[in-house]
Homo-oligomer: 265 residues x 2
DNA sequence: CAGTGGTCTAGACCACTGG
DNA sequence: CAGTGGTCTAGACCACTGC
């Protein structure tokens, strides 16, 4: 398990190198970036699974034939991107959506009063779960072709008994083969945690486009509000490693008791 | 200008130190955090102004009597928080809202088609600018007391001729003494850049609460849309150094041609 | 060319965790 | 106590900027 041929470049061979491909424009790439890429590959290939610890910095340093400081800088960036999780005295772990503090890492809707998790666990009701064919815009979002097989899920999240979020979710059928309404309904914990354990798909990053739209097309009934009530429309595309899109999600949020919270740095 | 009494602690005196106050709970604070605090103080006190360069890492290292690596780590964090701006070969600069790339650092509304700045400069119309007394909720947001003097500004931003954003802005009167509708109207560039140059107030961080609300109370007329049209309501509190709130802004965004864009890490 | 930030190393020591 | 991540140093060298 140690000492395969992971060594990056022959140490100070940053000139006229044939390298290992995948780069043409960036004429110069620091060592720690190459190490970061190697660690990323191991993550993507599942050498270490979410929740597990990766080798110690010292071990990685000898494996990659660089100093500990260089490994450290690589891990620094991966930790800043929430791909790894450092814990002093214990080790460095592959980040996961299954931990308590990451329960709602991608859900920015919080109650107007109280703290983010103060309403207790959300009630989740699967309204629909079926195979379908990708429309043009769904295909574009998921980097598929129009007509490709997708899974479509519709569910309602309720807080303190009040239906608050309606979500339409589209997933590429291939990586999620075998996903059913039952497995979704029976699973306790975040949906993205199920994706990790059951389908080996880890969501790493997401983008959201937010609009204000009236409740129509039956959404008013599922959320039990008056037709035409303004809703927050949140279109999310979630990505795995290497910026591969793996989910399109259109959420409709009630904002009479909750609000979308964002911090600008 | 060099060698005042900035030296942090007598080097390795992290035990039972009387320190310089302002800390009780964190039993241990690394050197680079103390350096970061010293740099932050100099920024807050205006020793280096927005857009200017700060001393080189080597100079700061000798001034603070630490190694360059320690200064570097302190600056690393300040740069990550967008307080400083490193430029290789040139120096490290105090971040500013007056630069081209930071034009809309706090405005997350982008056109549905085209790139963020593709519509040309926004047309800004000051609708109102007057002195007022802080209501209970305005006072709470700005850490004032109810009835304290505030400045209230209302303006409309138009893109490609179409009114798109209506903003109500509240500022504490004291730090912004002398701000008038004329100065706002005549100033070219972001409002936060004017705050920096004219009032020595630098916005560092902000929080936004987003809701969907119908256009009422005259907002429909200013935005030239039908009454009741869903609008994105964006309530922002902007902070200076030390988390002091300096602005409350309630924005109403049309989202038929634009959307609020957010990335989740 | 000198000056700046950026990278890399080797080694010492500290703080935290768990058995 | 050993093992982990976290801090700090001193020094060498590299990449970029501008004169």
């Amino acid at each position: 398990m140690l000492q395969t041929t992971d060594a990056p470049l022959p140490a100070n061979a940053n000139d006229a190198s044939t390298a290992s491909g995948e780069q043409l424009a960036p004429s110069f790439s620091p060592l720690y970036q190459q190490i970061k890429g190697l660690i990323l590959n191991s993550l993507r290939l599942g050498e270490w699974k979410p929740g597990e610890s990766i080798p110690s910095e010292k071990d990685l340093a000898t494996r990659f034939r660089v100093s500990q400081g260089t490994v450290r800088k690589a891990i620094d960036e991966l930790a800043a991107e929430n791909l790894l999780d450092r814990r002093q005295g214990k080790g460095t772990f592959v980040a996961t959506h299954a931990t308590q503090q990451a329960q709602f890492r991608f859900l920015k809707l919080v109650p107007d009063t109280g703290t983010p998790g103060s309403e207790g666990p959300a009630q989740r009701d699967i309204v629909e779960c079926r195979r379908a064919r990708a429309s043009a815009d769904v295909a574009r979002a998921l980097a598929l072709r129009t007509g490709d097989a997708v899974l479509q899920v519709r569910r309602v999240l309720s807080f303190a008994g009040a239906p608050t979020i309606l979500e339409d979710i589209w997933l590429p059928a291939a990586p999620f083969k075998g996903l059913t309404a039952e497995r979704l309904a029976n699973y306790q914990g975040p949906m993205y945690a199920l994706f990790e354990t059951e389908f080996n798909v880890r969501m790493v990053r997401a983008e959201e486009k937010i609009r204000a739209e009236p409740a129509i097309d039956g959404r008013e009934q599922l959320l039990k509000i008056e037709r035409g009530t303004p809703l927050l429309s949140v279109e999310r595309i979630a990505y795995t490693y290497k910026d591969v899109p793996m989910e399109l999600r259109r959420g409709y949020y009630r904002t009479d008791t909750h609000h979308y919270f964002n911090t600008l740095g």
